[in-house]
Amino acid sequence: MTNQQSLLEVEDLKTYYPIKGGILNRTKANVKAVNDVSLEVYEGETLGIVGESGCGKSTLGRTLLGLEKKTGGTIHFRGEDIGDLSEKKLKKYKKDMQMIFQDPFASLNPRQKIGNALEEIFIIHTSLSKSERKERVRKLLTEVGLKEEHYDRFPHEFSGGQRQRIGIARAIALNPSLIVCDEAVSALDVSVQAQIITLLKELQAKYHLTYLFISHDLGVVRHISDRVLVMYLGKTVELGTTEQIYNNALHPYTKALLSSIPRPIPGRKRERIKLQGDLPSASNYPTGCPFHTRCPIATAQCKEVVPEWREMEAGHFVACHEI
């Protein structure tokens, strides 16, 4: 992983959701879904993003694609600031950045034939004729392992794995450079999940795609990612190569997370790092380090001071006072 070229550069990105209430329905507080995230994504890599439910993984992905309005920070795509572009100008970049969604069924319009759904992309972004569009769609379908005759079918006529293939076809239709896979395989059965992961890998090799692979399944992430980002309550807590994260995790949260994964090896005695309590809700955000309420090694400092995002070794970042 030498001469990495940066595709996406994110600095101090913030995305807040307002919590409304009170007599006048004013904003009372904010859910800090993404809170001061800085990172770089390299061309052709797969960056896995892990963390527990509600930690802001999806929000981060959507914000990067301009589907969610950011509250602060900057996003550079191929060196260009795209964070504040108007809807119109953004269209050009939208072609270059696509998304694959978690629920393959929910992400397809149930009333639209698959062929038409795919064709629509070309209607929006190209001026191809009808027959040309059809041709492109046929090619796409075969590309993701579906058949041409699937063109006229409705989403409910497909199995979960097939639907996810359609989602992938949609994402690669315009030859993007970046694809955000938001829990793209989580809803699938293991056997199908393996099929899709393999397909994603094939496509990446073929088209030199960059993936942001969001998942809570650490096994899958390990399998597919080059680098891994660990998030907790809207904050990045650790970032490193897959190797660094899985074999040499620094942050106590990463460690706990890794130790909690049930291993398919019977009889293995677990050395689980037990965490106390549940995730605090994003709306009553803890002061200091967001993890201090559950952290086994928290100190007084952690309660007060937000830890810095430090590079511990080459490419291995962590936010913790105790390391």
Binding site: E52, S53, S159, G160, G161, Q162, D189, V190, S191, V192, Q193, A194, Q195, I197, T198, H216, D217, L218, G219, V220, R222, H223, T242, E243, Y246, A256, L257, L258, S259, S260, I261, P262, R263, P264, I265, P266, G267, R268, R270, R272, K274, L275, G277, D278, L279, S281
Partner: protein, 331 residues
């Protein structure tokens, strides 16, 4: 010997708009006290339906068409609703997958916890309240007194699932059925819940039927494993055997398809295709369209359950070949 639970040749049919479909086909298994049986299989393989049938809680349009379910020797199939009701939540308890929806949103935690105590143990309201407070503490909920008066939506997912567990254990059942109790939870929370169930099982000596599709979870908690595919049991055995010496091609495929956190270089193997739906009638073995080892016989004749060894069986024609090989070797 009397088993805690013995299920024999269970067949469950559903009446649907298209006719009758069999969701569970000829399933048999047994469970002893203090033992954990994991039922694994992909979505739609009939895990939930099997476990629901144990309590007589099948959806309205579902029926046990054949087979028997014996709890401590007592036949449950065909038992009167009222008799079953007395068992439910008392001798046999159940925990469901979705802690979000499995609790009634309009009643307090306390009310829902006290219900089985009042129904089955005739406790007074105060006694029930005291007892439920203790139960909450037992499942590791801080401030149980306060939580009793809260509503489900005020609790996090992990807490809710703990409440469900407390509820299921209220009357100290001898059999606990857990249908994917941790699937909706985060891994760190899942770990806490799995530990909890394990501890309580030890304490109470219950038998546990645990439904999951996560092989990792199976490895962690199971004594015995039953692998289901498209309504049928394809392989059963104790946990070690299943993981270390799986016989059925499906089981093997399943294990190989799970990405391993600890293995960087693992090549994921693929089972092509996807599971048939319950009402697809397939000649021969239900797995043969996806089986890399399918032989002619597999397409024509349904394989019987074949014993691999004591406590290990597989529903696959390959077994016959193997057995045959073995027998020829030994003889």
């Amino acid at each position: 010997m009397e088993h805690l639970l013995q299920v024999e040749n269970l067949v469950i049919g559903f009446r649907t708009a298209k006719g009758t479909s069999q969701a569970v086909r000829d399933v048999s298994f047994s469970l002893e006290e203090g033992e954990t049986l994991c039922i694994v299989g992909e979505s739609g393989s009939g895990k939930s339906i099997t476990s629901l049938s144990l309590l007589g809680l099948l959806p309205e349009n579902g029926d046990i068409a054949k087979g028997s379910i014996r709890f401590k020797g007592e036949e449950l199939v065909g038992k009167k609703e009222e008799a079953l009701r007395k068992l439910r939540g008392n001798k046999i308890s159940m925990i469901f997958q979705e802690p979000m929806t499995a609790l009634n949103p309009v009643f307090t935690i306390g009310y829902q916890l006290q219900e089985p105590l009042i129904i089955h143990q005739n406790l007074s309201k105060q006694e029930a309240r005291k007892r439920s407070m203790a139960l909450l503490a037992e499942v590791g909920i801080p401030n149980p007194k306060e939580k009793l008066d809260q509503y489900p939506h005020e609790l996090s997912g992990g807490m809710r699932q703990r409440v469900m567990i407390a509820m299921a254990l209220a009357c100290e059942p001898s059999l606990l059925i857990a249908d994917e109790p941790t699937t909706a939870l985060d891994v760190t929370i899942q770990a806490q819940i799995l530990d909890l169930i394990d501890d309580l099982k030890e304490q109470l000596g219950m038998g546990v039927v645990f439904v999951t599709h996560d092989m990792g979870v199976v490895a962690e908690i199971a004594d015995k494993v039953m692998v289901m595919y498209a309504g049928e049991v394809v392989e059963t055995g104790d946990v070690k055997t299943i993981f270390e010496d799986p016989q059925h091609p499906y089981t093997k495929g399943l294990l190989a398809a799970v990405p391993n956190v600890d293995d960087e270089t693992q090549e994921l193997s693929i089972i092509p295709g996807s599971m048939p739906s319950v009402d697809d009638e397939i000649e021969g073995c239900r797995f043969h369209p996806r089986c890399p080892f399918a032989m002619d016989i597999c397409k024509q004749k349904k394989p019987p359950v074949m014993n691999v060894s004591e406590n290990h069986s597989s529903r696959c024609w390959l077994q016959e070949v193997n057995n045959h090989d073995k027998s020829t070797v030994t003889s």
